[in-house]
């Protein structure tokens, strides 16, 4: 970069010049700062996960300073009265001390947990956006797969974090994981013995998952996130179709200053929401759960929500045990837990390839699709969403049964039937809604907007006046092609009526007395 003469006096410019002389930064920095991002609310969902992850690293580091991943038995003598004198592992005791005796410790713990839930929730919502808009299509299949892996690494990272405090609930979770591991044919018992160092719960599992939780998996997550975001930069962000937008350009705002300002603001907002939740809502009150004892299992023992659908599948699956006596037993839990989880990893990974195969669409796509325009994919997605929601509800079916006064048996059977029937109904209903929305778009393009003005013929027939969007032919039809983007459906979308009220939270100008009628021309005639 050549320095312009006469403007290089300021300290900042000088420092920048010195840095560039040494590290050759100006080129890459210019590319980066001039990078254009399209602007749409749904493009901000992945950022929620990214910024929650940063907060997870920060709060997790704080927690790691005080937590001791040791299963050595100690007698608790800390601040929480009802547990004083109780035998427990050092891990649980240090988690209690961290909550009650470290200043801000409980807040940090709650923040870490809420940030985890937000991290996983935003990954799911982000994934839905990518799926329903077809953003995973070529050339972005790799990034879709990385995203799926991010979810599953986050899944286990979260599960291990849930297990670390060694309280009653985490022990119950580990116990279920032990059962799932043992259900794998042939290798199960050995795998479980390796994990727990022999018999469950053993004395080593906490320190082992601690290293995985604080070092191995965060590193993998960090690496995957870097590649994930890097690929978005390299492949450029997708955008919605619209005026001036093609497969070969990106319309939006530059990284600096517009996009950076928005992102920093958004980051602080996300951290604010997590902080507010951590301060207001109690989460995972480990002091109530007590130290883990194999004989203690509480009612309403649930995993965190992102694991809950698997728990639901286990609850719903019938007790079908396959046996070849005396050699071999395949327990029922294998199907929902191991096969179910395997399919949940595999199907999303291969979905882009499957769709390519079935649609024979080999092209590269940088423009997004509206969900209604690809009804088959949208309906498949809704099938999975309904399946997942029934799984999650069934994972908490005892809480639902109790709070809504439903029989638990009825909940289980409703789940069993619903998880088979409802996704099919969801497919059909979604498909019809997509077709209906498509049809309405085409109808407005052909016949124009409904104006709400009713006219009466001399012979007594009533009809509604339509505002054509293009030049109409002699039948009042216009030949407009659908552009894959929002078709205006209301008169004020095409500038016929000014909005009477502007502003997001409050009016930025006084609404006029009669809705600004004197500034408008009455629509007097039009085509039917």
């Amino acid at each position: 970069m050549k320095r312009r003469k006469g403007t290089s006096d300021s300290l900042l410019t000088k420092a920048g010049g010195e840095l560039d002389d040494r590290f050759k930064l100006a080129g890459p920095a210019r590319v980066l700062l001039n990078k254009v991002f399209p602007d749409h609310w749904s493009f901000l969902l992945g950022e929620i996960a990214l910024f929650s992850f940063i907060l997870l690293l920060l709060s997790g580091t704080f927690l790691a300073l005080f937590f001791e991943p040791s299963m050595v038995e100690v007698t608790y003598n800390g601040a929480y009265v009802p547990l004083q004198g109780v035998e427990m592992s050092k891990a649980y005791a240090s988690a209690l001390d961290l909550s009650f005796e470290v200043r801000g410790g409980l807040f940090m713990r709650q923040m870490h947990h809420w940030a985890t839930l937000l991290f996983m929730a935003s990954i799911l919502v982000h994934m839905l956006r990518i799926f329903f808009t077809g953003a995973f299509r070529a050339p972005r299949e790799t990034n879709w797969m990385i995203g799926i892996l991010l979810f599953w690494v986050g899944f286990f990272e979260g599960f291990f974090g849930y297990s670390l405090p060694d309280d009653g609930l985490s022990g119950t979770g580990l116990r279920i994981m032990e059962g799932m591991t043992e259900s794998v044919p042939f290798i199960g018992p050995w795998a479980s013995a390796a994990l727990f160092g022999g018999q469950f719960p053993g004395t080593s599992v906490i320190s082992m998952i601690y290293i995985i939780h604080v070092f191995v998996f965060p590193l993998i997550l960090l690496a995957l996130i870097t590649v994930h975001v890097g690929l978005v930069f390299a492949q450029k962000h997708t955008q919605w179709p619209g005026p001036g937008r093609t497969e070969h350009n990106v319309v939006g705002f530059r990284m600096f200053p517009n996009y950076v300002m928005k992102q920093v603001g958004f980051m602080l907002f996300i951290w604010g929401v997590i902080g507010a939740m951590a301060g207001l809502f109690q989460i995972n009150p480990i002091w109530l759960f007590g130290p883990y004892e194999v004989s203690v299992v509480s009612s309403a023992s649930q995993p965190d929500f992102y694991v809950m659908y698997l728990d639901g599948l286990i609850r719903l699956f019938p007790a079908w045990e396959f046996r070849v006596p005396p050699y071999f037993t395949l327990p029922a839990v294998f199907w929902p837990a191991i096969a179910g989880m395997g399919l949940s990893v595999l199907l999303p990974l291969v979905y882009p390839a499957l769709e390519r195969r079935f649609t024979k669409d080999r092209g590269h796509h940088n423009l997004l699709q509206r969900p209604r325009d690809v009804p088959a994919r949208t309906s498949l997605g809704m099938m999975v969403v309904v399946f997942w929601i029934i799984g999650v509800i069934s994972g908490g079916n005892d809480v639902f049964a109790q709070k809504f006064h439903i029989s638990l048996n009825a909940m289980t059977w409703a789940g069993r039937i619903g998880i088979v029937v409802l996704p099919i109904i969801a497919y059909y209903v979604t498909y019809r809604i997509c077709l209906g929305l498509q049809q309405h778009d085409r109808e407005v393009l052909a016949h124009g907007l409904e104006t709400g003005i009713l006219m009466r013929d001399p012979n007594g027939r009533f009809y509604e006046v339509h505002q054509p969007l293009g030049e109409p032919d002699e039948h009042g039809h216009s030949e407009l092609e659908y552009g894959g983007w929002v078709v205006p459906k209301k008169m004020n979308r095409v500038g016929a009526l000014e909005p009477t009220d502007k502003g997001f939270f409050k009016s930025i100008e006084e609404p006029s007395e009669n809705g600004g009628a004197e500034r408008r021309d009455e629509i007097e005639s039009g085509h039917k």
Partner: protein
């Protein structure tokens, strides 16, 4: 002759058998009356019905008899016998509004508006006591609870109670529409009565399973975690149902707030 001798021998034989049988009856009856002297003593001492029990009987005959039958004998398929359940069970069921039951169901739901006053419940209890005795709450419960060990109670609670009522006392579902109710707002006395008598689907924790001191420990713990609200971690406990409501909160509060934020940020261009 031979025939008459035979007949006489048969007659003597029968007379001897009768004598032996009578003798055996006398011995057994005598032994029985010796070893259970209370049977008659009780009958004569408590046969006099006191004034409270009379009032209780009046209430019983108008409100309970249709299911529990005449003199608390129970009616097959409608209500169990109440003989021997004691005043602890009666007062618990009546004071929490579970009895009289409005309709047959999986279990009697509790109600904030019990049909009878506490005094009337005591009368009913006295009547049931009169019918057959049974479990009663110790008079020194207050002292027992005051001296209780909360930590001990916590361990007992987690082992004995949490599998139905949950770690946090919020209650839980049982099979076929039955449920373990929330322990919020339940008095010491009701907790004790419930443990002692095992109402609805609850098991009985008799004094040989949990001593009165251990019951008092549990009561102290429950009151500490559920009702004294000495519970850190924020303004809202989300009903303390664990991860189920936490998952709901992250979507309804966290995600919703941030989705509105995305709309706001993207709308500002």
């Amino acid at each position: 002759m031979a025939a008459s001798a035979k007949r006489r021998r048969g007659w003597r034989k029968r007379l001897g058998a009768l004598a032996r049988f009578t003798g055996a009856l006398v011995i057994v009856g005598g032994l029985y009356s010796v070893f259970s002297p209370g049977l008659y003593a009780q009958d004569s001492a408590e046969n006099t019905i006191d004034a409270d029990a009379v009032k209780g009987q009046e209430l019983y005959d108008t409100s309970c008899i249709s299911c529990h039958g005449d003199s608390g004998e129970g009616i097959e398929g409608r209500g169990p016998s109440l003989i021997g359940v004691g005043s602890a069970a009666v007062e618990f069921q009546v004071n929490t509004g579970r009895m009289p039951m409005a309709a047959q169901g999986a279990q009697a739901p509790d109600s904030d508006y019990p049909v009878f006053t506490e005094e009337e419940a005591e009368w009913l209890g006295a009547y049931i006591e009169y019918l057959g005795g049974g479990a009663v709450v110790p008079d020194d419960l207050e002292i027992l609870v005051a001296d209780a060990n909360v930590g001990e109670g916590g361990e007992l609670y987690r082992v004995n109670c949490s599998s139905c009522h949950g770690f946090s006392g919020g209650g839980g579902a049982l099979s076929s529409g039955a449920h373990a109710p929330s322990l919020a707002g339940v008095s010491d006395e009701e907790l004790y009565q419930a443990m002692l008598t095992g109402p609805q689907n609850m098991p009985v924790f008799g004094d040989n399973e949990l001593t009165p001191e251990q019951k008092a420990d549990i009561i102290a713990y429950v009151q500490y975690i559920v009702n004294d609200d000495r519970d850190p971690g924020g303004v809202f406990t989300l009903g303390r149902f664990g991860p189920a409501t936490e998952g709901l909160a992250i979507f309804l509060v966290g995600m919703t707030a941030l989705l509105l934020t995305t709309l706001w940020i993207a709308g500002k261009s």
